[in-house]
């Protein structure tokens, strides 16, 4: 709280005064708020707008990049798989055309063809010849499938119908997952035979693994029923049902967004492979894909927050600084107005005092002379000379006139100095002149006033009227703070060779620490409502500065207050400087 207090600008506590002497040019906290809000709005508005636009643009570009890359990967793998299968079915077709049925029914010949196929293409498990009745007439491979009847097998019916058949992965008689490629060869007499090869499904794994797929994705092949044709890393093993819906048919590569069985966002790229029962799928986790985007996003948000903090700090700082300067300038303006008003008031008081003194002085002078004459007559004529009572009465009249004369002289002297700028000052004399006005009050209230002026203080050039006002204000304040029977000590001594230090110490009620920093501010008054204007000390402060001095205050509640005034012996600022 105290830190906040320390950094709180002066104008913050400003209370708007609708009129009167303390009226300010503007409502400072309000203008501060308006200027900060407007500046923040026009500077942060476009920044936030642009950042949001940029955010969206970047997000969209990252997302489309992900889609594009996925589509490209799917296309590449599809091409490899298609090529792989086509290559094998074409080679079977060539063998069926290149060899007649007799040659193919020769086991040694068929075995040699199988060896060649394995060597040339790899992954061929076995090779068989089936006649038009569906019976396998020749077979080479690891299983004993000779004479097996395939006539009721689905793949057989398909190849008889279509000429070429590529099966999906199935267990078949051998109870091992495999796939089949079969071609029909028509014979001249209207008969036909079928050449059938089964392939190790490891071929797919080799194709899929040949495609560069980072850890972010899972590539696999399913058939149209959603059964896995290859084992997948995260979506099940071969011949299991994939935990994702079968994507709708499309003749092109498609990339769609979806959710996996755990509800996580995924990107699915797929392609129906023509003339086969296969659908190639690549599933990528979106979260991992947009990791780079997350980083960019974090940087973007960090940049935005950093910029906002910087802009706010600069705006608040500059607005506070400028408004505070305005406030101080306005404060100075009001001070000057009040000083003018105050010095006009003092000048009026001076003129009034001089007028009254003058008017009283003339009759007083006559009384003085008449009483003097009476005394002269008494003194010079023997008959009255011995009448002590009469002499006493006349003396009393003369001494009363003398007292009145002193009062009018004091008033005249005070008024006379009111308008003078520079003159030679005897400090002790000025202090005593001021105290003359307050002697009666001090007497009534039993306040003991002691004045100690160091003897070697030389006379110096300064503004006597201002000095009088300064002392009068401070001593008046001290009197107000003291209870009856208090002590006021005024000490003047040389501080340095060129300056005098005057301390005015009272043992009054003291000033609380929170008020100490404000007591020289205009309109700060603890006597509000009791006739205090809050201007006395602020005027004192500016008067001291006007005559080239400085004033400070130390105080302790309950113990008293000391005002210290430092005055220059030389180099006083010229009037109007």
């Amino acid at each position: 709280m105290s830190l906040l207090q320390r950094f709180k600008p002066r104008f913050w506590d400003y209370q708007h005064v609708p009129g009167g002497p303390a009226k300010r040019l503007v409502n400072f906290p309000l203008i501060w708020k308006v200027s900060v809000l407007v500046t923040v709005a026009v500077s942060l508005g476009p920044l936030i707008f642009i950042t949001i636009v940029d955010y969206n643009v970047t997000r969209r570009s990252v997302e489309s990049d992900i889609m594009l890359r996925t589509a490209r990967t799917v296309s590449n793998i599809r091409r490899s798989v298609s090529f792989f299968l086509e290559e094998r079915s074409l080679s079977l077709d060539f063998i069926a055309r290149d060899n007649d049925l007799t040659a193919l029914n020769n086991t040694a010949r068929l075995n040699s063809i199988l060896m060649n196929l394995r060597e040339g293409f790899g992954k061929f498990t076995d090779l068989g010849v089936i006649d038009s009745s569906g019976r396998q007439t020749n077979y080479v491979g690891p299983y004993s499938l000779l004479n097996k009847d395939y006539s009721d097998q689905d793949w057989y019916m398909q190849v008889v119908k279509g000429g070429v058949y590529i099966s999906d992965v199935f267990l078949g008689f051998r109870k091992v997952p495999h796939m089949v490629i079969a071609v029909r060869r028509d014979l001249s007499e209207g008969s036909f035979f079928v050449l059938r090869a089964s392939l190790d499904i490891a071929i797919f794994e080799s194709v899929l693994s040949s495609v560069e797929l980072d850890r972010l994705g899972d590539a696999f092949i399913i058939n149209h029923q959603g059964v896995l044709q290859t084992s997948s890393r995260e979506n099940g093993n071969v011949l299991e049902k994939v935990p994702l819906p079968v994507p709708p048919y499309s003749s092109q590569t498609e990339v769609v967004e979806g959710k996996d069985s755990n509800g996580r966002d995924i990107v699915i790229g797929y392609r129906y492979i023509d003339k086969t029962p296969f659908i190639l799928m690549i599933v990528k986790k979106k979260k991992a894909l947009i990791e780079s985007w997350q980083k960019t996003r974090l940087e973007l948000i960090g940049f935005l927050i950093g910029s906002i903090i910087l802009i706010l700090a600069v705006i608040v700082g500059i607005a506070t600084y400028l408004i505070n300067r305005m406030y101080l300038a306005d404060e100075k303006r009001i001070m000057i107005l009040h000083e003018m008003e105050y010095s006009n008031k003092m000048a009026s008081i001076g003129r009034l005092a001089a007028g009254v003194a003058h008017e009283i002085n003339n009759p007083l002078a006559i009384i003085n002379e008449k009483a003097g004459l009476i005394k002269d007559l008494f003194t010079f004529k023997d008959i009255y000379a011995k009448d002590h009572k009469l002499i006493g009465i006349v003396d009393s009249i003369i001494s009363s006139v003398d007292r009145c004369g002193k009062i009018t002289r004091r008033l005249l002297r005070f008024a006379r100095h009111m308008n003078v700028s520079l003159q030679s000052i005897n400090l002790e004399e000025v202090i005593n002149e001021v105290l003359d006005f307050l002697n009666k009050e001090a007497e009534y209230r039993s306040i003991v006033v002691s004045v100690k002026v160091q003897k070697d203080i030389p006379d110096f050039e300064n503004d006597r009227g201002k000095l009088q006002q300064i002392f009068l204000n401070i001593v008046n304040n001290a009197f107000a703070a003291m209870s009856d029977g208090g002590h006021l000590d005024i000490v003047a001594e040389m501080k340095h060779r060129n300056s005098i230090l005057i301390t005015i110490t009272d043992d009054g009620c003291g000033i609380p620490e929170t008020d100490l920093t404000h007591i020289f501010e205009p309109f700060f008054s603890t006597k509000t409502g009791q006739g205090g204007t809050g201007l006395g000390l602020s005027i004192t402060y500016s008067l001291v500065h006007e005559i080239g001095g400085s004033v400070s205050v130390q105080s302790e509640v309950g113990k008293g207050t000391t005002f210290s005034i430092t005055l220059p012996l030389k180099n006083i600022k010229a009037e109007g400087d």
Binding site: A354, A357, H358, N361, N362, L364, A365, I366, I367, N368, E369, K370, G372, L373, D376, F380, V401, D402, C404, G405, R409, L411, L412, R413, A415, R416, M418, N419, V420
Partner: protein
Amino acid sequence: MRILLVDDEEELVATLAERLAMRGIDADWVTNGEDAILKAETESYDLSVLDVKIPRISGINLKRELEKRNPHMKFIFMTGHGSEADYKAGSEEAGSEFYLIKPLDIRLLIEKINTALNSVGGSI
């Protein structure tokens, strides 16, 4: 030693003249500048005590007029007014030493008269 007192308050100058006479100082008095000039033309005065403010002519101007007629004449100013202009003019013209503020102290006045005339004549 002859002295001319000039003040618009007749009661004051008349009484003052009487009191000075009692002390052996021969003092005439007038209440305006014209009379003072007339007096100075016919009589010879060593010193004049002038109010700074005299109707129609200021004490300073009167002093100059009197000086024309008697260059050796000395002057003491008195005033019941404390304005700065008066103070400056009076003290510059006569020297602040010879500038008295009313009501006057008769002893001080005689002291100043003696000083001004640089003599020890007269009694208190």
